[in-house]
């Protein structure tokens, strides 16, 4: 039984970062500029955001890690060094790296280094090699629980220590999208669209439908599932006790491209799961509850990844999310009355009525989920519903800020016309 486990959550922007903190993350990871595996994401931070990120995380006693884990060309060296220097200067806690140029420079500068899953660590010798530079290492996602356990035991037995003088800590992915290739080392997107996954611009060819044709005789091969390369999403919450028993010290949630409500829900579920494991309170009833909450946010269906030693992967049977609920933008915050805890919103699309479950998202606010109990519309007093163009107010409990976005939560299959 372990004493302490770190929960590491993704942040593509400030909304997600606050959501991760609200969800109970011990640490967050994020990328800046183009040298990270989500270079395409318009959500990425810029270098100028680093002081604000460091401040926000320190304020909440959350560790912050910057991903700098693409392959690096000669022309990237100067930018890479600038980012590492800024990490050091602004007090970001560590850099997640895969390329030796980054690892070496960050180490020299005295910045804590974590080895990215992109380095594909699969054995104890490689861990020993990287221990000269790094204190935390993310294992390749294709290892089984037994293999992970052997590695964790060997670190202890051989007393493999990082630059900090402490034993090397092992991090694994606990939840989120999986690639069909060995961790990120896939060339499909590069091959078809010139867009290298290893430069952070994967076009996700694997998520599409395919058919296989025998070119000799023109026959189409029979396939049970046209999504032959799209792995379901990893979910370990139903065997997190076994995963933590291996001795891993950090659980990472994938998803720097995901929405704030996704980050908050998934982080919260895993926070509760880790805490219940540590307090000997991990039960099948609780697993059921977490699973139903996880099914409500973006997912391609779940499987346990390669941890349980399956012979074959499990493939998704549709292209997009199978989430059970979705959020629809309906307006923005225009005022907040601190004394009464009431927020005022301008409805810009559709309508909203009493009893509706809503979500408010903002860069400082993070994610607030609530249900409307009473609704005041314009200056007409209490009403049953508010329409497009109306100003309405209801209790949010927590402070909202001007321009925070208001969404309503509806079943995923509901058509817009009836919203």
């Amino acid at each position: 039984m372990q004493q302490k486990v770190e929960l590491l959550a993704p942040a593509g922007n400030f909304e997600c970062m606050v959501a991760a903190i609200q969800g109970g993350a011990d640490a967050v990871y994020f990328g800046v500029e183009q040298l990270n595996m989500r270079a395409r994401a318009t959500m990425n931070f810029v270098i100028e955001d680093l002081p604000a990120i460091a401040h926000l995380c320190k304020q909440h006693k959350v560790r912050s890690y910057l991903t700098l884990n693409t392959i690096i060309y000669d022309h990237d060296i100067s930018m890479m060094r600038h980012i590492v220097n800024e990490v050091k200067r602004t007090g970001i806690d560590a850099i997640i790296a895969a390329d030796q140029a980054v690892i070496s420079y960050a180490f020299k500068k005295g910045v804590e280094v974590h080895i990215s899953t992109q380095a594909n660590i699969t054995n104890i010798e490689t861990i020993e090699f990287y221990s000269h530079f790094a204190d935390v290492m993310v294992l390749s996602r294709e290892l089984s629980l037994n293999q992970i356990k052997q590695i964790c035991k060997a670190i202890e037995k051989q007393q493999i220590k990082g630059p900090s003088g402490k034993l090397v800590e092992i991090e694994v992915f606990a939840h989120g999208a999986l690639c069909m290739a060995v961790s990120g080392k896939c060339h499909l997107s590069l091959h078809t669209q010139n867009a290298s996954a290893n430069r952070g611009v994967c076009v996700q060819n694997c998520r599409r439908r395919y058919k296989v044709i025998d070119l000799e005789d023109g026959h189409e091969l029979e396939l049970d599932n046209e999504y032959i390369m799209s792995a379901k999403d990893l979910c370990t919450i139903n065997f997190i006790d076994q995963l933590l028993d291996t001795g891993v010290k950090v659980l990472k949630i994938e998803g720097r491209g995901k929405a704030p409500d996704y980050v908050k829900t998934v982080t919260r579920c895993y926070r509760e799961a880790i805490d219940s494991y540590l307090s000997n309170n991990y039960t099948s009833e609780r697993v059921e509850d977490w699973m139903s909450r996880l099914y409500n946010v973006y997912n391609r269906g779940f499987w346990g990844g390669y941890y349980l030693g399956r012979e074959m992967g499990e493939w998704a049977d549709s292209s997009g999310s199978q989430a059970l609920t979705k959020k629809i933008y309906i307006g923005k915050a225009t005022n907040y009355y601190a004394r009464s805890g009431i927020g005022e919103f301008l409805i810009e699309a559709y309508s909203v009525k009493i009893g509706q479950q809503v979500m408010i998202i903002g860069p400082t606010t993070g994610v607030i989920e609530t249900t409307i109990n009473t609704l005041h519309v314009n200056n007409d007093g209490a009403k049953e519903s508010a329409e497009k163009g109306d100003y309405c107010s209801f209790e949010t409990g927590i402070q909202v800020r001007n321009s925070d976005k208001l969404y309503k939560i509806v079943p995923a299959k509901e058509e817009l016309s009836v919203c």
Binding site: L35, A39, I77, S78, M79, M80, A195, S196, R199
Partner: protein, 73 residues
């Protein structure tokens, strides 16, 4: 006449443009993004007018760009 427009901010520094048309594209040692040589910056859109002789090469550049931020007119 040929007009190239380049939305530099979104460049990921993949190096393809430089591989195809090294006289017109260069990788910045400063920030790792590409520079469209001779272009003028207006609110993040770098533009240059050129002779038709550079069209073929630069259309290949635009096609190769993985983030599709190069426009040829």
């Amino acid at each position: 006449m040929l007009i190239i427009t380049f939305k530099r901010q979104k460049c990921i520094g993949c190096n393809y443009c430089k591989e195809i048309a090294p006289k017109r594209w260069q990788m910045s040692k400063k920030d790792g993004k590409s520079n469209l040589i001779g272009a003028i910056n207006k609110k993040g859109f770098w533009t240059i007018k050129l002779g038709e002789e550079e069209r073929d090469e630069n259309e290949r550049v635009a096609n190769a760009c993985p983030v599709k931020i190069i426009e040829i007119r």
